[in-house]
């Protein structure tokens, strides 16, 4: 499930900029929360990670058993698979500060790269 472990990326410091962000967003169809989360994520990635991210959208309405893969209880949930460690960001991603911290684009409370 997880990519090859990168020792340097194991800590919560901003990841090196040559890394690709591997993200997975669990949604339920076109529910309001899901739509907001998709928009918020798309916006943040384009702004900070243009060309360096990959997003997989998993629709649990179509494939409910996928929830077990990443132990997903809540939707929407964004799973940051890379850079490691794996982080889960639950909610419609409306708080961009928290989203950026969760994406490891800024240390908690710090500046965006």
């Amino acid at each position: 499930m997880t990519g090859p472990r990168d020792a340097d990326a194991a800590s919560e410091v901003p990841a090196p900029s040559d890394l690709t962000w591997d993200l997975r967003l669990y949604v339920t169809g076109r529910s309001p929360n899901s739509l907001r989360a998709m928009q918020n994520l798309q916006f943040a990635c384009e702004q900070y990670l243009a060309g360096r991210y990959h997003i997989e959208i998993v629709d649990l309405l179509e494939n409910p058993r996928r929830a077990a893969d990443d132990q997903i209880l809540a939707v929407p949930t964004l799973v940051r698979k890379l850079p490691q460690p794996i982080r889960k960001i639950v909610g419609d991603l409306s708080n961009s500060d928290r989203l950026l911290a969760g994406l490891q684009l800024r240390p908690r409370g710090g500046q965006a790269m």
């Binding site: 409910p64 209880l73 929407p76 960001i89 639950v90 909610g91 991603l93 989203l99």
Partner: protein, 580 residues
């Protein structure tokens, strides 16, 4: 389920019958289905709450496994506590094969590890992922049962408690719509049923589990706190987790009729059998209580020995000694139990009372009875159990033991140390059919044992006291000597018996003398009587002779007078005389 143990009490059973039947889903848990008169409310959610290690998970899993294996109701398990591997391993020892059930499509299992440290919350969310996963699983195997263990951990997983609360409310409604019978488990708080108040969502049935430590002895209790629309036993029932799963033990022995067969079996001591009108009634329970060193264990061994002699499987549970000690001790009174052990007729199990909790003792007994299926059981030294526990708990546990034995028709002898406080056995004594008391009596510098039959149901038993003698060929009962100074035992009895024998001899001699004297008197009197009779006969003969002479003289005189008158030409004197 057939009520092997019967209901909690007859009154509530009758009430249950009077109500319209609430559909129920049997848990397959022995005892619980009886307390609840059939199981959990079907199509509803039941909250099982308890502290850590109280057995919530096991109870919930028993419900799932029984559903899948016995009642054709597949299940879904969602655990928030442990990994699937751990859950599977934990219950494998109980014989639950979760992997097999999953392969057979009778169970779907999901494990969620909720770690708030790796979750960041930003904005609104719901728990739809859980609903979808559950819904898919329920549909896939046609699940009728669902377990969510421990749902309260969700409160720790998310910061937004309002969302969790709202979603849980939705979850229970959702489960009800799907008509699945669910168990959700909750973490018990200090003075509340659940830490997060889950009980407000689950209004149909609430079961509380409790794991108490008392004097380092653990006891588990189960209580049906609430069961809407159904009668249920309200006591805290002890339960146990044994190799055969989760077992709740309702107490029923006092009211139930076990179907008492009439035949009697020997206690192994012939004179004791005689005192009991031929022996113990089969299936009855005899309590032998007495002070230390009164030979209770030996009596128990006799009972076991004679049962084995009849070819009946016998279980001996020792609470004070080891099997080796007992076989050796019994050899010293001329009884060899080893051959019975070797032949597989006798199983001796030693259980140090303090080594386990009370319910573990019950679990062990339950398992031994199940595996070995004895007809006769000897429980030696049951009062030792009270070393670590308080009185009522012990007697309630003993009551359950007796119940288990009687329920299986096992004739049992329980021996117990009764110290100065005989009342300690009062609670138990009402449950036993026969109560023998062995008591040491001290006099003339020695101690001797007396045996009484305090009670024996259904038996015209002897009211006499017997002296209980341990010889090199086992127990013997001897009549006690009841003299002017009371009951006399031991060597004093022997002395008195000797004295009595002496007195008897002297008395015999005296009688013989008297007899001889009397015989002499009789002979003499008879001789005198003979003489007197001779005399009497002689006198009678003389008397008759004289009478005869008188008659003759009278008739001669008449003849003379007639001759004289004729000579004188006299008229006849009278017509009578003329006819002559």
């Amino acid at each position: 389920m057939a009520s092997e143990h019967g209901g909690a009490d007859p009154r509530s059973l009758a009430e249950a019958d009077a109500r319209p039947a609430l559909p129920k889903a049997p848990t397959g848990i022995r005892g619980l289905d009886e307390i609840t008169h059939g199981g959990l409310p079907r199509g509803r959610s039941t909250l099982v709450t308890g502290g850590t290690g109280s057995g919530k998970t096991l109870m919930a899993l028993s419900f799932l496994v029984a559903g899948a294996r016995e009642y054709g109701e597949p299940g879904v398990l969602v655990t928030f506590e442990e990994t699937a591997e751990k859950v599977t391993a934990n219950v494998a020892s109980l014989g639950f094969d979760l992997d097999g059930l999953q392969r057979d499509k009778l169970l779907v299992m999901y494990a969620f590890r909720v770690d708030p440290a790796e979750v960041i919350e930003t904005g609104a969310f719901d728990l739809e992922a859980l609903f979808l996963l559950l819904g898919e699983a329920i549909e896939r195997v046609g699940a009728k049962r669902v377990v969510l263990d421990t749902i309260e951990l969700l409160f720790g997983a998310f910061q937004d408690q309002a969302i969790v609360r709202a979603e849980l409310g939705r979850l229970f409604r959702w489960l009800e719509e799907r008509a699945v019978t669910a168990i959700v488990t909750g973490e018990r708080g200090d003075s509340v049923l659940t830490r997060h108040g889950i009980e407000e969502y689950v209004s149909d049935c609430v079961i509380a589990l409790d794991h108490r430590m008392q004097d380092e002895i653990s006891t588990r209790h189960l209580q049906v706190v609430k069961y809407r629309g159904s009668a249920h036993g309200t006591n805290a029932y002890p339960f146990l987790i044994s190799a055969r799963g989760f077992v709740v033990l309702p107490i029923t022995s006092v009211t139930l009729d076990y179907g008492a067969p009439g035949d009697r079996i020997s206690t192994g001591v012939a004179r004791l059998d005689h005192m009991l009108d031929g022996g113990l009634l089969r299936g009855s329970t005899v309590l032998v209580s007495g002070t230390a060193g009164t030979g209770k264990s030996t009596l128990g061994a006799h009972f076991a020995d004679s049962a084995c002699g009849r070819g009946e499987r016998t279980l001996m549970i020792l609470f004070e000694e080891s099997p080796d000690q007992v076989t050796r001790n019994m050899r010293s009174v001329g009884m060899d139990l080893q051959p019975w052990v070797d032949a597989g007729l006798l199983r001796i199990w030693a259980a140090r009372p303090t080594a386990f909790g009370l319910e573990t003792h019950l679990a062990i007994l339950d398992r031994l009875l199940e595996e070995f299926a004895p007809r006769v059981a000897v429980l030696d030294g049951i009062a030792s159990l009270s070393h670590g526990a308080t009185g009522p708990e012990v007697s309630s546990m003993l009551a359950r033991k007796i119940d288990m034995l009687k329920g299986r028709g096992i004739t049992a002898m329980l021996t117990t140390l009764a110290g100065a406080d005989e009342s300690s056995m009062v609670g138990v004594s009402s449950l036993v059919d026969t109560w023998l008391l062995v008591r040491n009596v001290e006099s003339n510098g020695e101690r001797n044992r007396l045996l009484f039959v305090l009670k024996s149901r259904g038996t015209a038993h002897s009211n006499q006291v017997r002296e209980f003698v341990l010889t090199d060929h086992g127990v013997e009962l001897v009549d006690v000597y009841v003299g002017p100074a009371g009951v006399v035992t031991g060597s004093a009895r022997l002395v008195l018996e000797a004295q009595e024998r002496g007195a008897n001899f002297r008395q015999g001699q005296e009688l013989a003398r008297r007899r001889r004297e009397l015989r002499g008197g009789i002979v003499e009197a008879e001789a005198r009587l003979a003489v007197l009779q001779d005399e009497l006969a002689a006198q009678r003969a003389e008397f008759e002779r004289i009478q005869e002479r008188e008659r003759r003289q009278a008739s001669d005189a008449e003849a003379d007078r007639s001759a004289l008158a004729a000579r004188r030409w006299a008229d006849p004197a009278s017509p009578g005389e003329g006819e002559r």
